[in-house]
């Protein structure tokens, strides 16, 4: 049995650290970090084999944060894994910090690809999964892609390649929080239906509530049984999840809270 309570505790610390990091930095992306918090925590603490002893290996399970602006989430999770000191989190986005606005793989152990420019991470994840196929290495590659990000044409170039090469060792989790910087994704440039698009590209599609650990973990397990094609999990999520006044607000995509707002947020995250 999975220890869901432990995951919930971890997610709480992660969200609190995200608030602290972004408040201290006076910039950063909370909304899209919170929508994917359960996804990242469940991957790092239940699914992927990434530990202090293998983190520097070039060949192991890998995670590519294609929606690289959710860097506060990745750094906060890597801190929980013990790859970063908690006090380092407060250097996020500041001069001379390892913790860049968007993640740099050469600065932080456990950042498996430098991302931030949307659409590129999923393509790199395809390259990693392809490498494991070429060399018969039994590792899996996970990539978190945004729903707004899927407006980038390169996502579909990568989707085509992943199916063509039958990369069943690749699992994409699509964070469908429904919002992008300029508002509702369906109003800005509607990328839906994403599931039908992925199916048409040759992917196996699973659906979950992206904040429900049991559904996420079941989907990860199910994805491993799908052979001969890549799998995408369409994770329905809430942008800003966990803080009432941030939930489903496009305005919280990339804006830092004031100290008062941060305090109010931390009061909710207990």
């Amino acid at each position: 049995m999975h220890n869901i309570a432990a995951l919930q505790e971890t997610a709480l610390r992660v969200r609190r650290n995200i608030i602290k990091m972004v408040t201290e930095a006076k910039s950063g992306h909370i909304g899209g970090s919170f929508s994917a918090t359960e996804i990242a925590v469940s991957l790092y603490f239940e699914e992927m084999n990434i530990t202090k002893s293998n983190v520097k290996d070039k060949v192991r399970d890998k995670f590519v944060l294609s929606k690289g602006h959710a860097s506060p989430l990745l750094f906060a999770v890597l801190c929980e894994k013990g790859f970063l000191e908690e006090k380092e989190l407060l250097t996020f986005r500041k001069i001379n910090s390892k913790l860049q606005g968007h993640p740099n793989m050469n600065y932080v152990d456990g950042v498996d690809m430098s991302t931030g420019s949307l659409g590129q991470g999923i393509s790199a994840a395809v390259g990693m999964a392809l490498s494991y196929k070429i060399h018969n290495q039994d590792f899996r590659v996970y990539s978190l892609v945004g729903d707004g990000e899927s407006q980038e044409g390169m996502v579909w170039e990568a989707a085509m390649a992943a199916a063509h090469y039958k990369l069943d060792n690749l699992l994409v989790i699509l964070d469908q929080n429904g919002l992008q910087i300029d508002g509702d994704i369906t109003k800005v440039m509607n990328p839906l239906p994403l599931d039908e698009k992925f199916k048409a590209f040759g992917w196996h599609v699973l659906y979950v509530d992206g904040h429900d650990y049991n559904q996420l973990l079941d989907a990860y397990a199910k994805a491993k049984t799908i052979k001969g094609q890549p799998t995408v999990i369409i994770a329905k999520t809430i942008k800003g999840k966990g803080v009432s006044f941030m939930e489903n607000q496009a305005g919280w995509h990339g804006v830092a809270p004031t100290p008062e707002q941060a305090e109010a947020a931390l009061k909710e995250l207990v």
């Binding site: 420019s117 590129q120 395809v126 490498s131 990568a158």
Partner: protein
């Protein structure tokens, strides 16, 4: 004199390398018969991948492969490798400093009949602007083979600029290429020509013509545009009243700019630039284009004669 296109030499060298080095993975974007990576596919189909007409994805996949310890050779026409996929090369390969060798063929106007839409005349400028990117343009088949083999053992990103048309072999069979070291092909007096790519052969033609008239110039092959051989450039500038740069590229941002940056700071010297004069090319045979756009020995000779 032997003649071979640098892309041909690339294909042959890569076909040998891929068999020898199991870390080598080759990517192409539906141009493998033109870029000549097909030669590698023929001998090692399991490590050659045609990603389709998707150059951006090719560069992203190349980056991902490289993170797992592979040495990736990714090929397309220079227009698409450096142009279309620029930002992926910049962020996923340059910023990460990954071990991807972008071998871009059909560079410059000598691509010929396909016309301006396919003639990359800005790629050196684009690629040398990326921090940590090595930019190399071999001038003949022997140098190309050397480069392709050598860079397999030099970690980090490379942009290798290759041509479509057959060019005269200028290097001896025992030539050894060294990254960032210009090659003095002819020693002259107080005028130095720095040439790269197809303009090396033109510079040698200019040398012969000028010598027949009693003018001896120095001719240098600048195969590596980045890191540039600053030491050699300054050393030769110190004894030169004129520097001529020659390249099949826009006069903005390429070899001439790279040399001028060094000279302005270290040894201000009069320069003449033989390059494409801020204009797009057009369809035509490679030779007709070189003539029309002023990229022959004639322009190099004229540049020299303006100062003697």
């Amino acid at each position: 004199m032997a003649k071979m296109a640098t892309r041909e030499a690339y294909g042959k060298a890569l076909a040998e390398l891929i068999v020898r080095d199991e870390k080598v993975i080759v990517l192409d974007a539906d141009l493998s018969k033109s870029t000549k990576t097909y030669d590698a596919k023929a001998v090692c189909p399991s490590r050659h991948f045609n990603v389709g007409i998707a150059e951006c994805d090719m560069m992203g996949i190349a980056a991902g492969l490289a993170t797992c310890g592979n040495t990736v050779y990714a090929s397309s026409f220079a227009m698409f490798a450096a142009g279309r996929a620029y930002e992926i090369v910049r962020n996923s390969i340059g910023y990460t400093h990954l071990n991807v060798k972008i071998c871009a063929t059909h560079a410059g106007i000598t691509l010929g009949e396909d016309g301006a839409s396919h003639q990359s005349i800005e790629d050196i400028s684009l690629m040398r602007g990326i921090p940590g990117m090595n930019v190399v343009q071999p001038c003949d088949d022997i140098e190309t083979a050397q480069v392709i083999n050598a860079i397999a053992n030099i970690n980090g990103p490379f942009y290798i600029r290759l041509g479509r048309g057959a060019v005269d072999t200028v290097n001896a069979p025992d030539y050894k290429w060294q990254l960032g070291k210009g090659v003095v092909l002819k020693e002259g007096k107080d005028i130095t020509i720095f040439a790269t790519g197809v303009m090396v052969q033109q510079a040698l033609l200019a040398y012969d013509a000028l010598k027949a008239e009693g003018v001896e110039v120095t001719v240098v092959n600048i195969h590596t545009i980045k890191p540039l051989d600053k030491e050699l450039i300054v050393k030769l500038a110190k004894k030169s009243k004129l520097i001529v740069s020659a390249e099949e590229h826009s006069k903005y941002g390429g070899l001439s700019s790279a040399i001028a940056e060094v000279l302005a700071a270290k040894c201000p010297t009069l320069m003449e630039v033989v390059a494409i004069n801020d204009t797009f090319g057009e369809s035509g045979t490679p030779n007709a284009l070189l003539e029309k756009y002023g990229l022959t020995s004639k322009e190099i000779i004229a540049a020299v004669k303006r100062h003697i």
